[in-house]
């Protein structure tokens, strides 16, 4: 692994974490659409990163977000689960001819249709876990379903905007 790539990974980690806890934490639309954009960082890890390192990265990221949200463990649990299913899910979605070496599975590299089928289920999965654990012990069903769906759509739109603005085609942030 080249040092440039490690720098990009670490830089992206810090950037996404700070963006999430300083800016996006207060960006909640209609008090039900949350913007958990840090999930995008895990989704956009290069394809050749195996599930063990990506789970460890997700654990650190989740813990960092939890500190600022005062939801100790909830973000961590849901993000680690996302990192665990990411690689099997990538394998299912392998295009004919396979992935390029060290490719980032972003919309620009893989196309909009592929990215939609890749990211939206994972966003939904993450939000389902997060809001389910968060609302354990309360008997709110419809507000929770509403939060899950609205947030997933919101994060998906935000992730497209972020990729169009700040990412280049092929490798690199």
């Amino acid at each position: 692994m080249s040092s440039g790539r490690i720098f990009l990974l670490v830089g992206g980690f810090v950037l996404y974490l700070l963006l999430q806890v300083l800016l996006l934490k207060n960006m909640v639309i209609f008090s039900s659409a949350f913007c958990f954009l840090y999930v995008l960082y895990i989704l956009l890890l290069p394809i050749d990163i195996k599930s063990i390192p990506s789970m460890l990265i997700a654990f650190a990221m989740g813990l960092g977000v939890d500190l600022f949200y005062d939801t100790l463990g909830i973000h961590t649990a849901s993000l680690v689960a996302v990192a665990f299913v990411r690689n099997p899910w990538l394998k299912v979605l392998t295009p004919t001819g396979g992935y390029d070496e060290g490719l980032m599975p972003s919309m620009l590299n893989m196309g909009f249709g592929w990215f939609l089928t890749y990211s939206l289920p994972l966003f939904l999965f993450h939000h389902l876990l997060f809001f389910y654990i968060e609302n354990l012990g309360t008997n709110l069903f419809f507000p929770v379903v509403q939060k899950i769906i609205y947030s997933a759509i919101f994060v998906f739109i935000m992730s497209i905007i972020v990729q169009l603005l700040f990412y280049r085609r092929r490798r690199g942030i």
Binding site: L22, S31, K50, Y69, G73, T76, F84, E134, T138
Partner: protein, 277 residues
């Protein structure tokens, strides 16, 4: 033996997954008590200083509204003070100091707040160095805000009223009927007043204040107004929705209150087996 090891090695990703999830779930479970250590939340030194830096920028945007509410509170306090001014022709009898001085107040600034989750917390910029202790009541000029959960040296995290596990001992001001205020997790402006029996006569617009029974808050701090009263599904109690007095979306400064006699009261409650909520 080798086969078992090989088998486990093949499952290593799944085992790590289980291990990390177990840690996360353990953290969730251990954090979910009413009071606990403040190390793993936004009150620790690192996140606290990041939040302070952020707040130094953001606070300028709310200065106007903060000033306005402070002026209003000042006017209210001045009016109250006028009542206590002794007329020249009356005799003043000093009360016993034990009765007079059981609450102490402190001020703090909110540096982190949330209101859309089902368990919301605030972080304030004062900690044990400034005399903040676990369990202190928190309110602002509008009404009750929450209760201190954990304290570090320079920061403290506060359970907001918008937390589905927090109960606040309250009463209806006009009729002195007692109940507990609890948030139902839906709307950040509304909460429920529980355990008010059916025979009680309540009108919409009645003020709900703290009861002073659980020794966290002094009596009479506003919580909200009765918004809606219905018979409810439970047979014994009314289903009362109240509109919270504090606007949680723009809390910037809060007051903390400590009851000097809380320890003594709690000891009494405990020795008699009374739960204190």
């Amino acid at each position: 033996m080798q086969r078992i090891l090989l088998f486990l090695y093949r499952l290593r990703a799944f085992l790590l997954f289980l291990f990390l999830e177990a840690i996360a779930l353990w953290l969730i479970a251990s954090y979910n008590s009413q009071q606990g250590s403040a190390f793993f939340n936004s009150a620790n030194q690192a996140s606290g200083s990041v939040l302070t830096a952020r707040n130094n920028v953001v606070e300028y945007f709310s200065l106007a509204s903060v000033n306005k509410s402070l002026v209003e509170k000042n006017a209210e306090l001045l009016a109250e003070l006028e009542k206590f001014r002794m007329p020249a022709d009356s005799v003043y009898i000093e009360l016993d100091s034990l009765l007079a001085n059981s609450f102490q107040f402190k001020g703090a600034k909110v540096i982190n707040n949330s209101l859309n989750l089902s368990q919301n917390f605030l972080t304030i910029n004062k900690g044990s160095n400034h005399g903040i202790k676990e369990g202190m009541g928190v309110f602002n000029e509008e009404g009750v805000v929450g209760r201190v959960k954990g304290v570090t040296k320079n920061f403290a995290s506060v359970i907001s009223v918008l937390h589905t596990d927090l109960l606040i001992s309250s009463k209806i001001e006009s009729s002195d009927v007692f109940g507990s205020t609890k948030w139902d997790g839906k709307d950040a402006n509304k909460a429920k007043l529980l355990y008010v029996p059916r025979h009680v006569n309540i009108k919409e617009g009645d003020k709900v204040v703290t009861s002073g029974y659980n020794a966290v808050f002094p009596e009479g701090i506003p919580i909200g107004k009765v918004f809606q009263v219905s018979q409810g599904a439970e047979t014994n109690y009314l289903d009362i929705t109240i509109e919270l007095a504090a606007d949680f979306s723009r809390i910037s400064y809060v007051y903390l209150v400590e009851n000097n006699q809380e320890e003594e009261l709690n000891e009494l409650y405990q020795s008699n087996g009374i739960s204190n909520e």
